[in-house]
């Protein structure tokens, strides 16, 4: 594939493309699904192909193909360049920020290698979990792995090779008691070999969680209809920071590039350095976290990834950038461009987004809350396409009375605006926990692995529905 990548770059340049980048990718994956205890399907797949992005006459074109016949490759490049030239009369001039060219070769090491992991081992992992929840009539478990090999080159001299293995697990169950039901859906993921499974401790965690949710379903009371303090668990912090900070801070949304599909942002370029949250709030976006689901060291434009503070002391500090948005906003890319596979264009994406730890323990936060609700996890969420108006429905939740957790609360709903959410925070926990997800954006839709998380946080004076 390297040879095809180099051939493609050369041919695109010969056709007059001022800038060219080529990603040659090979992804090898395995998956197994256990539905209601029955092994439904074993799947394995290898995809390989190249994605070529170029600029000709200041217009941008993207090509993808998985046929490596040189004549076909050259023919498609020619067709694409002609199409881009033809549409230039209605096209916008595209420029990329100037960035240092990079040469790198990196990989994520595995202790229990995906390549050596057999079907029966995958099945055992799922069966161990299934054993713990066998009393539930609807149980859907999947386990998957992937090794993504990537070779990136561009016409500015960057050459970057990477190998990233990823493990993912998902469980979805329906809990039924006394004619009522409740569902739980939670994905796990990491850039790792299969050694991560032990750390996840899935069977024990899921067993305990189902017990807690059953209790909530049977004994959960309605949330009080008054303003009170809302403590949110690490899982809720995670989804909130991803949806209402990460997304609206994507500079391509701010500039309107995703207006028709994923939407725009309530944040605008003039809001840099304005206060959006309380002063104890710091939000970080960092692709370089070892073993994280959103891990990478160089993005799909060849820019070196780095940690950045989106919010510092409650103020907007930095947006997420790729080379296009960086040029438009007269700054440098901070390495956020990613494509989900060779066949789609690189776009501005989040990786691992979290709220930084504070100085209170979970126990202290609860103890200092006279009347409130602790929404530890969630079962539904959504947010408008400007990322302003959001809703989270609690899954595991409790009433807090005089500093103690008293009764379970069934399905409390917080529905509030982004500035209210981040300005209401008055206590932040010490321990950060991260959760895996697949973030969707673009048309065609690209699902990309991400982490989101943070500590337990307290929001003052919130009306729960």
């Amino acid at each position: 594939m390297k040879e095809v990548a180099e051939f493609s770059l050369k041919k695109a340049q010969e056709l007059g493309c001022k800038y060219v980048e080529v990603r040659a990718e090979k992804r090898t994956s395995n998956s197994l699904t256990l539905k209601n205890g029955n092994p439904e399907l074993a799947g394995f797949e290898t995809t390989s192909g190249i994605g070529i992005r170029y600029i000709i006459n200041n217009n941008l074109g993207f090509i993808s193909l998985n046929n490596f016949d040189r004549d076909k490759v050259f023919s498609l490049i020619k067709k694409s360049v002609n199409m881009t030239k033809k549409s230039s009369r209605i096209s916008k001039n595209i420029y990329l920020s100037g960035e240092k060219s990079q040469k790198a070769d990196y990989n994520v090491s595995q202790k229990e290698k995906i390549q050596d992991f057999t079907e029966d081992k995958r099945l055992n992992i799922l069966r161990e979990v299934d054993k713990e929840i066998i009393g539930l009539s609807q149980r859907y478990l999947t386990l998957g792995d992937e090794i993504a090999e990537k070779y990136y080159i561009n016409s500015e001299g960057s050459v970057i090779s990477s190998v990233i293995p990823r493990i993912s697990f998902l469980y979805f169950v329906t809990i039924g008691e006394n004619g009522k039901t409740m569902q739980r859906y939670l994905p796990y993921g990491a850039a790792s070999g299969y050694e991560i499974i032990k750390k996840w401790n899935l069977a024990r965690k899921i067993h305990d969680e189902i017990g807690i949710l059953k209790n909530n379903l049977i004994n959960g009371v309605k949330p009080p209809q008054e303003k009170l303090d809302l403590v949110i668990g690490t899982e809720v912090t995670g989804i909130a920071v991803h949806e209402s900070v990460g997304h609206p801070f994507e500079a391509d949304r701010i500039l309107g590039r995703e207006a028709a599909q994923a939407g725009e942002s309530f944040v605008n370029v003039d809001m840099m350095n304005t206060q959006i949250g309380s002063k104890i709030v710091n939000v970080v976006e960092d692709p370089t976290i070892e073993n994280s689901f959103g891990f990478y060291l160089y993005d799909d434009e060849g820019v070196k990834a780095r940690k950045k503070y989106l919010i510092r002391k409650g103020m907007i500090n930095e947006f997420l950038h790729d080379r296009q948005t960086a040029f438009e906003l007269k700054t440098k890319s901070n390495g956020c461009s990613r494509a989900s596979n060779y066949d789609v264009e690189p776009m501005l994406r989040m990786s691992n987004t979290y709220v930084e730890s504070g100085d209170s323990s979970e126990e202290e936060i609860i103890k200092e809350t006279k009347k409130g609700i602790y929404m530890k996890s969630y079962m539904q969420w959504n947010i408008d396409d400007k990322r302003f108006h959001q809703r989270y429905t609690g899954s595991e939740a409790y009433l807090i009375e005089k500093g103690e957790l008293t009764k379970p609360v069934f399905a409390p709903v917080m529905e509030l605006t982004t500035p209210t959410l981040w300005s209401s925070i008055d206590m932040i926990g010490k321990k950060v926990e991260m959760y895996a997800g697949s973030c969707g954006k673009g048309e065609p839709m690209q699902g990309i692995p991400v982490y989101f998380g943070g500590p337990v946080m307290r929001l003052k004076n919130i009306k729960i529905q």
């Binding site: 539905k35 209601n36 092994p39 439904e40 399907l41 074993a42 799947g43 394995f44 797949e45 995809t47 390989s48 941008l60 074109g61 993207f62 090509i63 993808s64 193909l65 998985n66 498609l76 694409s80 199409m83 033809k86 549409s87 209605i90 096209s91 916008k92 079907e119 029966d120 099945l123 859907y140 979805f172 329906t174 039901t181 409740m182 569902q183 309107g256 590039r257 207006a259 028709a260 599909q261 066949d343 079962m379 969420w381 959504n382 947010i383 408008d384 396409d385 108006h389 959001q390 809703r391 529905e415 509030l416 605006t417 209210t420 209401s424 048309e443 919130i462 009306k463 729960i464 529905q465």
Partner: protein, 431 residues
């Protein structure tokens, strides 16, 4: 290519597999993405894949060959055979369809679809929308698909399809926007200007929106707004989703309202129309819900055998799937409400509980207050927080403006008119 396809089938059978399906696809596609009235990216793709489904003694394996060569095909056969000895049996697997079959469906098809000048086409759409809006964004896509299916059930069939898709969102001032899409199998029936005009018309109507209030209201759903809800209903009718807990359609022959919902892969203008499903069974029209009564779930051969019914020709080899959804109900004056809301698009539909049907979704783009049958005010800042079974039960009537919708939120092409639903719960942020 045919040599490799036939090799895969015959070699897998020779080496002990019971059922084999080999499905070759080649897609040639182009895309123009536009933002702030200008094209920001052209896209071109040429992708071919061979999907292979096989089983031995109920051990089911699914894979694909994307680097297509004889050597890679031989490697793949070895891996499937080796894996088939190790994977556990799927006791819910009952085999694939036995042919041969006759295929009679006739669809709209432009063999020369890739010859069109998409820049000219897009320019017309953008210019039309800009007559009534300040800026537009969206996508124009065109592609041509060739497929060739062979199975151990004595099926060998080839097909081809042509597709055009256009999505345009028009904007005026802050919070004044409208969105519309169109899709077609032929250029002749692809009305890009009408679509652009509609998006701009909504954006214009959405002038100076005020905050909506929470409560229960009659809601008129436009085609763009109703199609995502119908997508969820049709997906809930797949027997796989019923078994897994991803469905609120929990009981056959139960009354869910007063409307009809069909899946029809034989519609000449259906965007996903196809002669055969993923195991080669000739497709047909299936009435899922007839005058409110749930008549059938969607099945493939294996799931149909498990439940002792006939396949509905909706394979998906593991999970049966709808192709084109068609909705109908009593015709009436949808705006005949004293006070209600007209919603032209929804976004981010999520279920709290698929099994009970509790969900919420966010109206986006133009939304309007209706008083005494007239649109009197543009609205913003609301959410539908309701139950899908209640929404279905409260369907009142529809108009005759049938539109085929495919969108980000409605991936399954859906033919729907505008629909009036009573007593819809609208919520707002408490802060």
């Amino acid at each position: 290519m045919e040599k490799i396809i036939n090799y895969l089938k015959s070699e897998l059978l020779k080496r002990g597999m019971d059922d084999v399906i080999v499905n070759f696809y080649e897609t040639e596609g182009r895309q123009l993405k536009f933002v702030n009235n200008k094209v920001v990216k052209t896209g071109s793709e040429l992708i071919s894949n061979i999907y292979i489904f096989s089983s031995r003694s109920k051990r089911v394996i699914s894979t694909s060959l994307k680097d297509i060569s004889q050597a890679k095909a031989e490697e793949l056969v070895k891996k499937i055979i080796s894996m088939s000895k190790n994977v556990p049996p799927n006791n819910d697997y009952y085999g694939i369809a036995k042919g041969p079959f006759k295929y009679n469906s006739k669809f709209d098809y432009d063999k020369d679809i890739m010859e069109i000048d998409e820049s000219d086409l897009l320019e017309k759409g953008i210019n039309k929308a800009l007559e009534n809006s300040k800026r537009v964004a969206g996508n124009l896509e065109v592609w041509h698909l060739k497929s060739h299916l062979v199975t151990s059930g004595d099926v060998e069939v080839k097909d081809g399809s042509s597709n055009l898709y256009f999505s345009i969102r028009a904007f005026n001032e802050n919070d004044e926007s409208g969105h519309m899409t169109c899709c077609s199998n032929t250029l002749k029936k692809f009305d890009i200007e009408k679509t652009a005009e509609r998006a701009a018309e909504i954006a214009t109507l959405a002038k100076k929106p005020v905050e909506a209030r929470a409560g229960r209201f009659p809601v008129v759903f436009s085609q763009m707004a109703f199609a995502p809800l119908l997508n969820n209903v049709s997906e809930a009718s797949s027997i796989y989703n019923v078994e897994s807990g991803f469905s609120f359609l929990n009981e056959l022959n139960m009354k869910y309202g007063d409307f009809t919902l069909e899946d029809d892969a034989t519609l000449p203008t259906g965007f996903n129309s196809v002669s055969f499903d993923d195991e080669g069974v000739p497709t047909k029209k299936t009435t899922i819900i007839d005058k409110g009564i749930l008549k059938t779930y969607l099945h493939n051969t294996s799931t149909a055998k498990k439940y002792k019914v006939e396949t509905t020709a909706n394979a998906g080899l593991i999970s049966p799937k709808p192709f084109n959804v068609v909705f109908d109900c009593r015709k009436g004056d949808i705006f005949d409400v004293k006070e209600g809301i007209y919603i032209t698009n929804v976004w981010y539909t999520r279920f709290q509980n698929y099994s009970s049907g509790d969900f919420s979704t966010i109206p986006r783009d133009g939304a309007f207050l209706i008083k005494n049958g007239e649109i009197v005010q543009s609205l913003k800042g609301m959410r539908i927080s309701d139950n899908m079974l209640d929404i279905l039960k409260n369907i009142q009537c529809c108009n005759k403006k049938l539109w085929q919708i495919k969108s980000w939120e409605a991936e399954i092409p859906t033919f729907t008119p505008e629909v009036l639903v009573n007593n819809v719960s609208i919520t707002k942020p408490t802060h």
